[in-house]
C-alpha cells in the first residue's frame, strides 16, 4: 500500500479506511480542481433567482467568475464573466437586471445573450475583425432539473438527469412542497468560511451519527420547547425516529429520516405555536389532495439531507436549505447557503419557514456553529495525518440491506466516487 492510496475499501474484510492525506495534504486540492470539480456537474443557481428577462446573478463556480442570467428570449445562460477583448469582468454587480453587460475598461458592450454589440472606435481593427467571434463565452455545459441549474466544464459529461440518478426523486420531494411546483430562493444569503477541508462538510451534512454529541444544546432546546427527543427503547437508534442512508448513484447519497424536528410543509411541532396548527393542517390537506396520502406523507413526514456530488447539499429538514461550498485552500472553504420555499406560500408560512431555518441552520443558528467547530477541530487534528494516517468509516458495513442514517454507507458512497475520479488513469 503506497501513500498514494486514498481509501482502503474492502467490504469482504469489513474494512473501510480513509487516508487523512485526502483531507490534509495541500497538494491534493490541485488535483481535485481538475479531476473532481472540472469533471462533474456543479450547482450554479436556481431559476427563481433570475425570473425575468435581463435578470442576472454573478458568482464564482469552480474558481471561475460566471454570469447566471436570463436573456431577452427568456433562456437561461451561464457566461464566463470575462471580456473577450482583454479579460476584465463585464459585470461587477452581485445581481440585478441588465439590458447590456458593459466592460468599463475599454467600453465593449455585450447583450444578455452574450453577443458583442458595440466596440468603441471599431474602425481601427483590421478588416478581418468580426464582432460575431467575440461573444461572451458560455460555460461548456449548462442544464437544469426542476429549476436547479448546474454547469460543467466537462463537455463530454453525461446528461444532468443521468448524473443525478436517484437524487432526482429527492429533488422532486422538495419541489412537490409547492402546489404549483415552483420553489423560490428567498432573499438573504448566508455566506461564511470554515477553516476546514471542503469534504468535511460533505461528510458532516449527512452524518447523523454526530447529532447527539455535537448538537446536545440544540436537542435540549427542542426538548425545552416540548419536542420529544428521546430515542425509542430497544431499536438501536440514537435519535427519536428511524432513518436510513442510501446510495443514489454517481457519488450522490442521502439520509432519509422520519421527522421529529418539525417541518414547515407540513409537520407541526410545539415551537411553531398553537396558532400555526390550523395552517399546517391546511398545507398538509392540500398535499394529500394533490399527491395522495402516501406521497403526501413522504413529503411531509420525512426529512432528507441530500448530497449531490461533489459539493451541493440540499437539506430538507427544519426548513429547506441549498448549500454549496468551495475549497479556498486544503484547510479552508467558502460556504453559501440559501433558503428555499414554495412561491405561493402565505406570509405566515414563509415567516415560520425562515424562523424554523434559524433554530438549527446557519452561522447564528443553534447547531451549525457547533458543526463548524467540529470541522475546524478535525482539521487541526488532521495536521498529524502523516502519523495518524487513517480515518475509520465502517459503520453498518456488515449489514445486509438497509443501513441507518447513523451508519456510514452514505459517507462511503461519496468517498468511493471521489476516489474513483481522483485515481482515474493511475496505473
Amino acid at each position: 500500500m503506497t501513500s498514494e492510496t486514498y481509501i482502503i475499501d474492502d467490504p469482504d474484510n469489513l474494512m473501510f479506511k480513509l487516508n487523512r492525506r485526502a483531507l490534509a495534504d495541500p497538494g491534493v486540492l490541485e488535483n481535485e480542481r481538475t479531476k473532481i470539480f472540472d469533471k462533474s456537474w456543479i450547482y450554479c443557481g436556481h431559476a427563481s433567482e433570475i425570473p425575468d428577462p435581463g435578470d442576472f446573478e454573478t458568482r464564482t463556480v469552480c474558481g471561475r467568475p460566471v454570469i447566471f442570467c436570463r436573456g431577452e428570449d427568456g433562456e437561461v445562460r451561464v457566461f464566463l464573466n470575462s471580456c473577450t477583448h482583454r479579460g476584465a469582468q463585464v459585470c461587477r454587480e452581485r445581481s440585478g437586471n441588465a439590458k447590456r453587460f458593459y466592460c468599463f475598461y475599454h467600453g465593449w458592450t455585450f447583450g444578455c445573450d452574450g453577443s458583442l454589440k458595440a466596440v468603441p472606435a471599431e474602425d481601427s481593427y483590421p478588416p478581418s475583425f468580426d464582432k460575431t467571434n467575440f461573444a461572451l463565452k458560455l460555460v461548456p455545459r449548462a442544464e437544469s432539473y426542476r429549476d436547479f441549474w448546474f454547469i460543467s466544464f466537462n463537455s463530454e459529461i453525461i446528461s444532468l438527469e443521468e448524473y443525478l440518478a436517484g437524487a432526482k426523486e429527492y429533488i422532486d420531494l422538495v419541489v412537490e412542497q409547492s402546489p404549483s411546483g415552483c420553489m423560490e430562493v428567498i432573499e438573504g444569503t448566508q455566506e461564511y468560511d470554515i477553516r476546514a477541508n471542503w469534504k468535511l462538510l460533505v461528510e458532516n451534512s449527512f452524518d447523523d451519527y454526530h447529532l447527539v454529541s455535537t448538537h446536545k444544546t440544540w436537542l435540549d432546546y427542542m426538548k425545552d420547547s416540548g419536542v420529544e427527543i428521546r430515542p425509542p427503547k430497544g431499536q438501536g437508534l440514537l435519535l427519536p425516529t428511524h432513518g436510513i442512508g442510501k446510495n443514489l448513484g454517481n457519488g450522490c447519497a442521502v439520509i432519509d429520516n422520519i421527522n421529529f424536528r418539525g417541518r414547515p410543509v407540513a409537520k407541526w411541532i410545539s415551537i411553531y405555536g398553537e396558532d400555526a396548527k390550523e395552517e399546517i393542517d391546511a398545507i398538509r390537506a392540500e398535499l394529500v389532495d394533490r399527491l395522495g396520502e402516501a406521497r403526501a406523507a413522504r413529503v411531509a413526514d420525512t426529512n432528507r439531507n441530500l448530497v449531490i456530488f461533489p459539493n451541493l447539499v440540499i437539506n430538507d429538514g427544519s426548513s429547506v436549505t441549498i448549500r454549496a461550498f468551495w475549497p479556498e485552500a486544503s484547510d479552508r472553504m467558502k460556504v453559501t447557503a440559501w433558503a428555499l420555499g414554495p412561491k405561493e406560500e402565505s406570509k405566515s408560512a414563509r415567516a415560520r419557514r425562515l424562523d424554523s431555518f434559524l433554530t438549527f441552520y446557519g452561522p447564528g443558528g443553534f447547531a451549525t456553529p457547533d458543526d463548524v467547530e467540529a470541522l475546524e477541530s478535525v482539521q487541526q487534528g488532521l495536521k498529524s495525518w502523516q502519523e495518524v494516517q487513517w480515518s475509520e468509516m465502517t459503520r453498518g458495513i456488515d449489514k445486509e440491506g438497509e443501513q441507518l442514517n447513523t451508519d456510514e454507507l452514505h459517507l462511503r458512497t461519496f468517498w468511493r466516487q471521489w476516489n474513483k475520479l481522483m485515481t482515474v488513469g493511475n496505473a
Partner: protein, 164 residues
C-alpha cells in the same frame, strides 16, 4: 430622574457601554435583565441588511424566548462553538439619538467587534446597531436590537456564535 425629555447622548452612551461590557465579560444573565419582555435581537444576512424579519433569511432573528434559549445554550459547556469561549472586545461609537416618540428612543451606533479564539487571526465584525430603547422609571430597556454588518459576507468571520 432620567426621562425621554431630559435624556442626553451621554446617558445613552453610558447604557450602551455598560451593555458592551456585560457582553464582553460574558455576563449574559445580567445582559438579559437589560431586555424587555418582548425584546427582539436580529442580525440580517450580509446581502440583505435592510430586509424585514419574516420575509428574508437572516443570520439571527430571535424573539425573547429564543434570546433566552440562546443564552442558556451559550452557558452550556456543550455549546462547542463557544467552548472555550471567544474573547470579544466591542468598540461602540457614533452614537446618535435618531428619533424620540414618547418614552421610545431610536438609537443608532457604530460597532467594531473583535473576536479572538485559539491562536487564530482576529475576526473583525464591523457595522452599526439600531436600537429601540424604552425609558421608564429612569431606566433603559432594550426592546429592539439589530446588528447590521458592513462585512459584505461573513467570510472569515465565520460564525456569529456569540452575542454580536
Amino acid at each position: 430622574m432620567l426621562t425621554s425629555d431630559t435624556v442626553s447622548r451621554s446617558d445613552i452612551e453610558d447604557f450602551l457601554y455598560h451593555e458592551a461590557a456585560l457582553l464582553d465579560r460574558w455576563q449574559l444573565d445580567d445582559w438579559l435583565l437589560l431586555l424587555t419582555e418582548d425584546a427582539e435581537y436580529e442580525v440580517p444576512s450580509t446581502d440583505a441588511p435592510f430586509a424585514k424579519n419574516g420575509e428574508a433569511l437572516f443570520l439571527i432573528a430571535d424573539d425573547i424566548t429564543r434570546i433566552r434559549a440562546r443564552v442558556k445554550r451559550l452557558q452550556d459547556p456543550e455549546a462547542h462553538a463557544e467552548s472555550p469561549r471567544s474573547r470579544t472586545r466591542r468598540m461602540i461609537s457614533n452614537v446618535r439619538l435618531t428619533k424620540r416618540v414618547e418614552n421610545r428612543l431610536h438609537v443608532a451606533a457604530n460597532f467594531s467587534v473583535y473576536r479572538f479564539r485559539y491562536g487564530y487571526e482576529v475576526r473583525h465584525f464591523v457595522g452599526h446597531y439600531h436600537y429601540e430603547l424604552l425609558l421608564g422609571n429612569g431606566v433603559f430597556k432594550i426592546q429592539k436590537r439589530r446588528a447590521i454588518l458592513d462585512n459584505t459576507e461573513l467570510g472569515p468571520q465565520g460564525a456569529v456564535s456569540f452575542i454580536l
